[in-house]
């Protein structure tokens, strides 16, 4: 009996191996082209989604991605082993294009910067005049008033009527590391605009004036992480104790709502003013270019992107997802500031960087 099984096995194996040898390559290998990309971490979940993978596979592509901070992608990541770079902002993409002499780019998604917080914090900051309720339950975060608190080094336990969060830490929005991450650079752009009296920072004099306060926004926080998922995950899993306020992309919050990770009491606020982060893909070769084209043109992929909270070319897709998840989102972003020029932003970031020693 045993011998019979062995014979059958041997024969079966032989056939299987033969099939694999003859057809394996076509079935498994050449059917799909593997494309490698380095992306801003907030898009990692999108690329890992089985439906997204399937949609790309239908086009013959298997896309493998590594997450990294967007400014890292533009500066320190070895792009030699990737087919595309997909940072979360146009300035980072511009830099890659400039450094590598590439003229193509795709901007399939965008997302405004937002500040995620908790209801008790909203109540405390409402008393301090920082957070206010707007149309349709959308909450705004007054950056100018917030900066006044930071300027004075105000601690949570010094805010009037604060019994909900009497913590001996400075009132500070948690961000990523401005030396490596795009969301921190976006946050800096917002703060620079507000600190400059509601005008885009321009010129050495204005830069010098806003710089000390901008540096404190980051250095007083202490150590910060490189990717926006880092502090946002702390917000989601550890909560108010570690991150009472965290700077995120609106998309991250909406997507986590889709996934059921947003618990009661977690609140999305919009900084006033905010800036728009344009997720921009820079192709490094023809395969990368194909990914860029698909993300911009494929209706299925655009619909999936909306489920990840991104605003795409079709605004109603995003609005529908937000409505389903009951996240009050700003349908029309009114108070959007222009970021400073690429050069100004880089100069400000480098000046902040110097204070890290």
């Amino acid at each position: 009996m045993k011998r019979g099984i062995s014979l059958f096995l041997a024969a079966g194996l032989g056939i299987a191996v033969a099939i694999v040898i003859v057809f394996g390559d076509r079935i498994g290998g050449s059917g799909l082209t593997t494309v490698r990309g380095v992306i801003g971490s907030e898009k990692q979940a999108f690329f890992a989604d089985p439906q997204v993978r399937k949609a790309l596979e239908r086009q013959g592509l298997k896309v493998d991605v590594d997450p990294a901070g967007s400014r890292q992608i533009a500066t320190s990541v070895d792009l030699g082993r990737y087919d595309f770079a997909f940072p979360s902002s146009s300035p980072a993409a511009d830099r890659i294009q400039k450094d590598r002499g590439i003229t193509t780019k795709y901007a399939p998604f965008s997302s405004p910067m937002a500040i995620a917080t908790f209801q008790p914090i909203v109540d405390v900051l409402a008393k301090a005049g920082v957070v206010a309720a707007g149309r349709g339950g959308v909450r705004t975060f007054d950056v100018r008033r917030y900066l006044d608190l930071v300027d004075k080094g105000t601690r949570w336990d010094q805010l009037a009527g604060n019994t909900a969060y009497p913590v001996r830490k400075n009132v500070l929005v948690s961000t990523t590391d401005p030396r490596s991450s795009n969301s921190a650079a976006m946050y800096l752009a917002i703060a620079a605009y507000a600190a400059n009296g509601g005008e885009v920072v321009q010129g050495a004099e204005a830069e010098a004036r806003v710089l000390p306060l901008l540096s404190r926004l980051f250095l007083d926080q202490g150590y910060t992480e490189n990717t926006t998922e880092g502090p946002f995950e702390d917000y989601l899993s550890i909560g108010m104790g570690k991150t009472p306020l965290v700077c995120v992309y609106e998309a991250q919050f909406v997507h986590r709502a889709v996934r059921g990770d947003i618990k009661p009491g977690m609140v999305l606020t919009y900084p006033s003013p905010t800036v728009l982060s344009k997720h921009t893909l820079v192709p490094l070769n023809a395969n990368g270019d194909k990914v860029g084209r698909l993300l911009t043109s494929d209706a299925g992929l655009q619909r999936l992107a909306a489920r990840y909270g991104f605003r795409t070319a079709q605004p109603d897709q995003f609005a529908q997802v937000a409505a389903e998840q009951q996240v009050p989102v700003a349908a029309d972003l009114i108070d959007v500031a222009d970021p400073p020029s690429y050069e100004t932003l880089e100069r400000l970031l480098r000046a902040v960087e110097k204070n890290y020693g």
Partner: protein, 560 residues
């Protein structure tokens, strides 16, 4: 061989499924899949073998902090579930950072896994060596306080602040053990947390602040009467102290350590009295255990890293990590069990390297109890040549000659008392050095030149020389961490025997008996007797047969 072929077939079959509906492949694919599946089922049934279930089977080589050693069963299960086998080597806090910065991990490891990447990331150039960091779990550094003491101090009902704890320590109402911040991450995190909290400022610690808060830190560290180079050994020493009473040392009221270590200690049934977990009200520093791929890891290794981190963050695995190794989950879909107390605020970790380094430096040179250390050093004939050279190099490295990160914080510290007892036929002349409070350079140079003058010859009187060390140290000094290092390359063949030493020690007063001996296994030293001597005195052995004496002497610094 069949096994290997099996893996191959499995992988192919998977890919087939992944290609989706391609017209040409349909029927043929189905046949191939059916045949291979049947064959594999049978093959597995006949051989009972493991066919490597993962998408990326293979080994992931990880340099890790020793506090992750308790993850063994979780990782064994991970291998069964994903096919990724994790091979861990362990390194201390600063040693690990040093190795990464020097590029010594490149191509030897695929990933690093420490309690936190924070200190590492402060170093210029660190970031470019790291790939993807994925937080896997979390645990704050908190206090474990004997239940009766917690209740006496009222800490069981109302969370004290770090200032309250510092006050109790200064008034000798509370004593504790903590690991060495240079060697172990729990001590390092605790030091940063206390400093952040005692600074009274709501912003991250600045370099200039360290001088200002040093007196407050001194109060807090008055209470530290037990130190250790690793969390595991700290727990063991604590258990020894509380079970053996005065013979093992002055009473210790608690430990500063990871919440996870304290929970597992309570669960171990090794404690006569439970530890009440005290989460300081003004905040903690938490480990978040980022499993981090290295920038130069191969594509396969990065894939294994992705598979493993996805797995570790799965809700069911996070729950297992929570119940088995007492870490808090990082996946928001998993709710922490009720036994995890509400998280206090997280204190800021400094943004600047110079601030952290100033703090570590101040801890060793000014703040903590100074050490009192005797080195009993074999200079018998067999130490001639390379061995003596190795010994000289090891001691010289501790005199500030090693400019590396670890070397800087492992040298003989200001205020430390160092006694060298070379021996052969009998203990030779004893030399003591006291490193001054300020400007240690001249005294360190004297240690160095004395070390260089050592010559060899004669036999090996191990235990008579250890006995001499105890006599020199005398009744000890509770204000110092006192210990003896024994380095011998051969068996005892002169003077008293171990059995004589044992009865001599038994007749000594408790204050003498509690001084631990750290024997170094070297050359032809008698391994069994060395182990016996270590456990007799509450020390532990260190192995210099597979690594240099210099590396071992540095490791021992964590325990002194």
């Amino acid at each position: 061989m069949t096994q290997t072929r099996g893996d191959l077939v499995v992988v192919r079959t998977r890919r087939t499924r992944g290609t989706g509906a391609r017209a040409w492949a349909g029927p043929l694919r189905a046949v191939a899949a059916a045949v291979t599946a049947a064959v594999l089922l049978l093959a597995a049934a006949c051989q009972g073998g493991d066919d490597g279930k993962g998408d990326a089977p293979g080994v992931l080589r990880v340099l890790a902090g020793s506090e992750l050693a308790d993850l063994g069963p979780i990782l064994a299960q991970a291998e069964r579930d994903t096919g990724v086998r994790v091979q861990m080597d362990y390194a201390g806090t600063l040693d690990g950072v040093q190795r990464i910065l020097e590029g010594k991990v490149d191509r030897r490891y695929d990933a690093i896994w420490f309690s936190s990447n924070r200190y590492l990331s402060l170093h210029p150039g660190a970031q470019s060596r790291l790939g993807t960091a994925v937080k896997t779990m979390s645990s704050p550094v908190v206090l474990g306080v004997r239940a009766s003491v917690a209740s006496r101090l009222g800490w069981d009902t109302k969370r004290p602040t770090w200032s309250d704890i510092a006050e109790a320590a200064a008034e000798r109402k509370f004593t504790y053990g903590m690991t060495n911040p240079a060697a172990s991450n729990s001590g390092f995190s605790a030091l940063v947390a206390v400093a952040a909290a005692l600074s009274g400022d709501g912003a991250a610690l600045q370099t200039g602040t360290v001088d200002e808060i040093a007196p407050r830190l001194e109060s807090f560290f008055t209470g530290q009467i037990l130190t250790a180079g690793s969390s595991g050994w700290l727990s063991d020493s604590y258990v020894r102290r509380v079970t053996q009473g005065a013979a093992a040392g002055p009473q210790v009221d608690g430990l500063v350590n990871y919440e996870s270590v304290l929970l597992s200690l309570n669960e171990s049934r090794r404690l006569p009295e439970r530890l009440t977990l005290v989460h300081p009200a003004d905040g903690v520093i938490s480990a978040d255990y980022p499993l981090t791929s290295l920038a130069d890891a191969s594509g396969d290794a990065r894939e294994r890293h992705r598979v493993l981190t996805d797995y570790l963050r799965r809700p069911d695995v996070q729950r297992r990590i929570m119940t088995q190794v007492h870490r808090r989950p990082v996946n928001p879909q998993v709710r922490p069990e009720a036994r995890f107390a509400e998280m206090p605020p997280e204190l800021p970790f400094p943004a600047r390297l110079d601030a952290v380094d100033a703090l570590i430096g101040a801890y060793f040179d000014r703040i903590r109890r100074p050490a009192r250390t005797a080195y009993v050093l074999d200079v018998s004939g067999s130490m001639k040549g390379d061995r003596l050279a190795g010994l000289k190099a090891a001691l010289t490295a501790l005199t500030g000659a090693d400019a590396s990160l670890a070397g800087r914080f492992q040298r003989f510290h200001n205020r430390e008392e160092v006694t060298l007892i070379p021996f052969s036929d009998a203990p030779r002349e004893t030399r003591s050095f006291v490193i001054p409070e300020a400007d240690p350079t001249a005294e360190l140079a004297r240690v160095r030149s004395y070390t260089q003058s050592l010559g060899v010859g004669g036999n090996t009187a191990v235990y008579s020389s250890v006995q001499r060390a105890y006599e020199v140290l005398g009744r000890g000094d509770d204000d110092r961490f006192t210990s003896i290092v024994l380095m011998s390359d051969g068996e005892n063949n002169r003077g008293i025997a171990l059995v004589d030493f044992r009865s001599w020690l038994a007749a000594q007063p408790a204050e003498v008996r509690r001084v631990p001996v750290f024997p170094v296994l070297f050359g032809e030293a008698a391994t069994g007797e060395m182990g016996e001597l270590a456990s007799l005195t509450g020390g532990r052995t260190f192995d210099a047969r597979s690594q240099s004496l210099e590396a071992v002497f540095k490791e021992i610094r964590g325990y002194q």
